[in-house]
Symmetry: C2
Subunit: 377 residues, 2 copies
């Protein structure tokens, strides 16, 4: 038997973010905490969005989201939420502020420590008292704006997932205009995150035909539009399509990811180097596609057809070539990763929630080999 | 700007219905009212399902659902719900018991009359106090088990839609085994309902890429498997695929239907002849596909590709040929409809909620011509 869930309410399109004051009112939020990061503040997006709020909706603004949200940051932000007597959350940014806000939604209403709620098995411990939240993505990739999960690095160094329908944003305001002009490297890295979500959920052996249909469409959409968004940062249609591809990935998550994410999660928990999740996915994807070949039925053929590639194309090589065209690195070494973290990454990957849904069963030896291959030695 | 909603929790697969007692417990329902019809009772499905309930979960059983649910039936059933002091609903059957139960969920908790809540504009009047409901479809077609809407015939003769996320079943238990052995005519009629939902939502001009992806997959699934389900009523895979296609239709509804449904709704409100909704859709679909040709961009090409048809195939003719192969009538005349209802059907179609999302704008004259062509004179 299979379980299928679709749980999100999304408002999508140019100007969607202008609906923020009305959505706050609809949700009965009077004193929102706005969770974002310094980059968003610097880019002027924060000022633009705050200007839409009415005088009565003055938000308490938290800009200290780290690149990969940590337990410490969740605690700090939760304290901020309490201090300012907030009654709701607005997350503005990429995956990091959205995931951090999910951590606050949880910890402001549930007894600690945070680690109690980690992992799929802890899902029933998270209740409807979680703080209501609105997500406003400013990148096109994470999918967290329509997902039930958050990835947070615990004190002990593990990057774990926190999942509950109660952590799902009550509303996602997806405004592709917020991504106009985004720098090429961030467009490419976040875009490859969206692409990887769609490809991995499509390949996951879990049975969920609606998610599979969404994933295939999302993968093809990212394939068609990512390069254009990178080379033409102000192309409104490319930005629209890429933000839509990000949502498709997020809606398909429930089908389960695979070895790319299983390896990317512990890599994202490293303090040094501090890695960008989507960029790591981009490097890992061709390696994992080669590993999974022969374990995916006709799915590579279906992906190639959807991408408009010839039937005899090498999918992994095509993805590697896309990486090159959009300026992604081809090895983890280029990102500053070294071989001495291999044991830690393999241990993290074997324990990761994405590992069971990789189409080819993953052994420790496989995980180590994939890591070394991606490292580029 | 566009709005996208996915709101359902579905448990799908052989034996799914056996989860009923546990789901009742999860939802805190102690005294369920079971809404079904005489056909389901006669087929023995009711007895089988009731046997799964624990001694404490004895249900009050209502079997008087009419073929097309009416305002009178909603009142009768609501009275029954109150008399038996129920605290939840289980709908077992095709679209009629599920829609009737949605009527009870509404009227047991909201002030009457029912007509107040009709139409898309009345959606905000329906609140979270609506009775929680579990849907157990016994046909593969309606999609109502994962939909927010109910179609109910009012006293004044109009068949109108009642829509709210609060009318969405809290859980859909989709067990394809319940459809094993279903007679050919019912399999074909309900299957063409699923197919039509997918085709019309795919063609709808409203922008909702995830729904469009689901609709395309569902249409192709029904195209591949419906004939097999009709000719081999005990083929478990065909039943699985068709029940999945029904869900795809229901998940895609939010994108809007078209002229087939706009005409089928007032036809379904006729007392004489009493028509089967899916069978009426089957007859109307080729006629409407011809009407919409040239107003659908590349979508007929994409449908034909997904169906494995040659690029130069005539989609309307192919659907008409499928109808013939599965024993569907080719004219409304064969179903007992006569030309003298044309004004009533046209008026109903012009006011229908599905009309604005037909890809080609529909005038009164168009609606009359489509009706007359489908009539077969």
């Amino acid at each position: 038997m299979i379980t299928i869930n679709y749980l999100t309410s999304i408002e999508f399109g140019s100007g969607a973010v202008q609906r923020l004051p009305q959505v706050l009112e609809e949700l009965g939020i009077k004193r929102p905490m706005l969770v974002t990061d310094a980059g968003i503040a610097r880019a002027g997006i924060l000022t633009r969005i705050c200007a839409y709020l009415s005088a009565e909706q003055s938000a308490a603004v938290f800009t200290d989201t780290p690149p990969n949200p940590t337990e410490e940051a969740v605690e700090l932000a939760t304290e901020f939420y309490r201090k300012h007597a907030c009654d709701g959350l607005i997350a503005i940014g990429g995956g990091s502020p959205i995931d951090l806000a999910k951590g606050v939604a949880l910890m402001a209403t549930h007894d600690g420590p945070l680690s109690r709620y980690a992992g799929m098995a802890a899902m029933p411990l998270i209740g409807p008292q979680a703080v209501p939240m609105i997500a406003v993505p400013t990148t096109a990739g994470t999918g967290s704006e329509v997902g039930r999960g958050a990835l947070i690095c615990l004190r002990d160094g593990r990057k774990l997932v926190f999942v509950s329908q109660h952590l799902l944003p009550k509303r996602a305001l997806c405004d592709p205009d917020l991504t106009l002009g985004m720098p090429a490297a961030l467009t490419a890295g976040t875009g490859m995150d969206a692409f990887t979500h769609c490809v991995e959920t499509f390949l996951s052996p879990r049975v969920n035909p609606p998610a599979e249909a969404i994933a295939l469409d999302g993968a093809a959409r990212a394939w068609r539009w990512l390069e254009r968004a990178v080379t033409h940062p102000n192309d409104a249609q490319a930005r629209w399509e890429m933000m839509m591809a990000g949502i498709h990935g997020g809606l398909a998550f429930q089908k389960g990811l695979g070895a790319v994410h299983a390896l990317a999660h512990p890599l994202g928990a490293l303090i040094e180097p501090m890695l960008h999740h989507g960029t790591v996915n981009a490097v890992l994807l061709p390696v994992v596609l080669r590993f999974n070949a022969g374990h995916v039925g006709d799915k590579y053929a279906r992906l190639k057809q959807a991408f408009g590639l010839p039937a005899d194309a090498d999918l992994a090589a095509e993805v590697a070539a896309l990486n090159t065209r959009i300026g992604m690195p081809s090895t983890l070494r280029e990102l500053g990763v070294s071989a001495n973290v291999v044991d830690r990454i393999v241990a993290g990957a074997m324990a990761d929630h994405s590992t069971p849904t990789n189409p080819r069963p993953l052994t420790e030896r496989d995980a180590a080999a994939l890591f070394m291959e991606a490292l580029g030695d």
